[in-house]
C-alpha cells in the first residue's frame, strides 16, 4: 500500500537570505547573491579564472553547545541549523525523533573540504609531526556523511539514514529517497536536504573544465545567466536546504501544518559520459517522473530548471523540457539569483517553489535578458507573474550523469 507524503517543514540558508521573508523578498525584487570571491591569501584564488561565487555573507546565530559543535565543520553547521529550524517549524517532538520512525536523508558533495585540507596539511608537514597532526575530530568533521550523522546526533534521531553524495542531485535524491521511505511505509517522518560550504576547490574543478563564468568578474551580479544568449558558465554557491517529509495520515493525526505534497520522484543515469549533459537522459527523467507522479505533462504548471548557465547544458535542458512539456509550463532557472549551490540546490529550489505556491507568484529567471535562440522554444519566466501553481517540478542533473526530477503539488 502506498502512502501519501506531505511536506510539514522547510528552511533554507542561501546567498539571498535565510528564511522565507528575506528570501522571497529578494526573489521578487530580483536580488542577486553573487559576489566576488573572498579576498584570501590561499593558493587557489590566484589561479582561478572565475572570481565570482554565491556567498552567504550574513551572520547566522548558531547557538550550538560545545557537546555538538565539536564535530561540526562549516557544512555541518549549515546542515544542523536548517534541520533544527525545520524540526521546530514542523513541531517534531523528542519522542518522535528518537522513536525509530524518523530518519534523515541529508548529504553534501563530499563532506567538508576545508577540514579535509587541514588533514592533508598535517599529512604533508614533515617538520612538526609531533604536534601538528590529525585532530581527534577532523575525520568526523570532514567525512562524506558528516551532515547526516551530526543531524542524527544533535537531535537524537534513530531511524533510517542515507547520505547521498551525488553533487548537484544530492538534495533532490535526499528528498526523493525520503519520499520513497515514507511512501512505502519504512518511515513516518524524514528530514531531507543537503548543504555545501564555501569552497574554491569546487570552483577550481569546474574552472578547469572551462565551465565557470569568467566574463562577469567585474560585475558579479550579472552572472550566472540561465538560458541567456550571453551566458558563459556556472557560478558556484554555498548554502543549505532542509524539508520535513511526513506520512499524510501521521501529519493529519498530530495536527501538523501541511505545506505541500510530494507526488513523484524519478532518478536515472545517463549510463555514459560523466560530464557532458545528455538530452535522452533528461527526457527519460522527466517522463519517468511524470509516470511516478501519475500525472500528464500538461498537468505541470511550472518547472524549476537545473539551468547552470553552461552553453551546452542549458540548451539540452531546454530541448528536453520542450520535448516532454511543450511550451506550457513556466520555466525558471533559480541559479540566476543564487548560483549553483551544488548539493543543496534541489532542496533550495524546492523551497523556492513552495514559496511561489504559497504566494501565488512565479519568479522570473534573473539575468535572462536576451533568450538564446537555442533555448527559446520553452515558456521562460522573464518577469514576475501572479499565477497559482498547482503542480511544479524541480529537475537536477549532476556530474556522473545522475538525473532527478521531483513533483510537488500545492496543498489547499
Amino acid at each position: 500500500m502506498e502512502r501519501r507524503v506531505v511536506i510539514t517543514g522547510e528552511s533554507a540558508i542561501t546567498p539571498i537570505g535565510h528564511g522565507k521573508k528575506d528570501i522571497l523578498n529578494n526573489l521578487i525584487n530580483g536580488v542577486s547573491g553573487i559576489k566576488n570571491i573572498k579576498a584570501e591569501e590561499d593558493f587557489l584564488s590566484k589561479y582561478l579564472y572565475s572570481k565570482v561565487y554565491g556567498i552567504v555573507d550574513y551572520k547566522i546565530e548558531y547557538d550550538f553547545s560545545r557537546k555538538f559543535a565539536k564535530t561540526l565543520s562549516p557544512v555541518a553547521y549549515y546542515a544542523c541549523q536548517v534541520s533544527r529550524e525545520v524540526i521546530e517549524k514542523a513541531g517534531l517532538s523528542k519522542e518522535l525523533l528518537s522513536s525509530g520512525k524518523t530518519g534523515v536523508a541529508f548529504g553534501s558533495i563530499h563532506g567538508s573540504p576545508s577540514v579535509q585540507r587541514s588533514i592533508y596539511e598535517a599529512f604533508f608537514d614533515t617538520e612538526n609531526k609531533g604536534y601538528l597532526k590529525v585532530n581527534a575530530t577532523d575525520y568526523l568533521k570532514s567525512m562524506a556523511h558528516t551532515t547526516a550523522v551530526n543531524i542524527t546526533r544533535m537531535f537524537g534521531i534513530t531511524g533510517r539514514v542515507i547520505s547521498s553524495c551525488t553533487a548537484c542531485t544530492t538534495a533532490s535524491q535526499s528528498i526523493g529517497y525520503g519520499y520513497e521511505f515514507i511512501k512505502y511505509g519504512l518511515q513516518d517522518v524524514m528530514i531531507c536536504g543537503a548543504a555545501d560550504e564555501y569552497d574554491l576547490t569546487t570552483t577550481a574543478v569546474f574552472d578547469n573544465l572551462l565551465a565557470c563564468s569568467t566574463a562577469y568578474n567585474h560585475s558579479p551580479q550579472s552572472t550566472p545567466r540561465p538560458f541567456d544568449a550571453n551566458r558563459d558558465g556556472m557560478v558556484i554557491g554555498e548554502g543549505a536546504g532542509a524539508l520535513v517529509l511526513e506520512d499524510y495520515e501521521h501529519a493529519k493525526k498530530r495536527g501538523a501544518e501541511i505545506l505541500a505534497e510530494v507526488i513523484g520522484f524519478s532518478c536515472c543515469n545517463n549510463g555514459g559520459d560523466l560530464i557532458l549533459p545528455n538530452a535522452d537522459g533528461a527526457r527519460r527523467t522527466i517522463r519517468t517522473g511524470l509516470e511516478n507522479a501519475r500525472i500528464n505533462s500538461d498537468d505541470v504548471d511550472f518547472v524549476s530548471a537545473h539551468a547552470t548557465s553552461t552553453k551546452a547544458g542549458d540548451t539540452i535542458e531546454a530541448q528536453a523540457i520542450f520535448s516532454e512539456y511543450g511550451n506550457k509550463p513556466y520555466v525558471t532557472g533559480f541559479k540566476g539569483n543564487i548560483g549553483h549551490t551544488m548539493s543543496a540546490c534541489g532542496a533550495i529550489e524546492t523551497i523556492f517553489l513552495l514559496y511561489m505556491m504559497q504566494e501565488g507568484v512565479v519568479i522570473p529567471t534573473l539575468n535572462l535578458v536576451d533568450i538564446d535562440p537555442a533555448c527559446n522554444m520553452i515558456n521562460h519566466t522573464i518577469k514576475l507573474r501572479e499565477k497559482k501553481i498547482n503542480i511544479g517540478s524541480i529537475q537536477n542533473f549532476a556530474f556522473g550523469g545522475v538525473n532527478t526530477s521531483l513533483f510537488i503539488k500545492k496543498w489547499d
Partner: protein, 89 residues
Amino acid sequence: MSRDSIVIEILTILKEEFEILNPDLNDNLTEKYEFDSIDAIALLEYMEKIIGSELTQEEKKQTLEIRTINHIVDYIEAMINKRQQTAVI
C-alpha cells in the same frame, strides 16, 4: 614541573578547550561532564605538550582507565618521571 603546576594547566585546558568549569579533581569527567572518547583523544594532544614529547601507542593505551583530573595528573607526572629517568640513563 610540580604537581600543582600540572593541575593548573589541566584546569585551564579543560576550561578553555572543553568548557568544563570548576571541576572537582575527583569528579568522573564522563559521568559529570559528558567527556567522551573524542574529548579524550583531543586532550591527549595537550597532555603530550605538557609532558614535552609524543606518547607511544602503549603509553596512550594506559590512558584508557583515566576518569578524573587526579588520574590525568598522576599519568602526566608518571610520564614526565619516566622520560627524566630515561634521559639520566
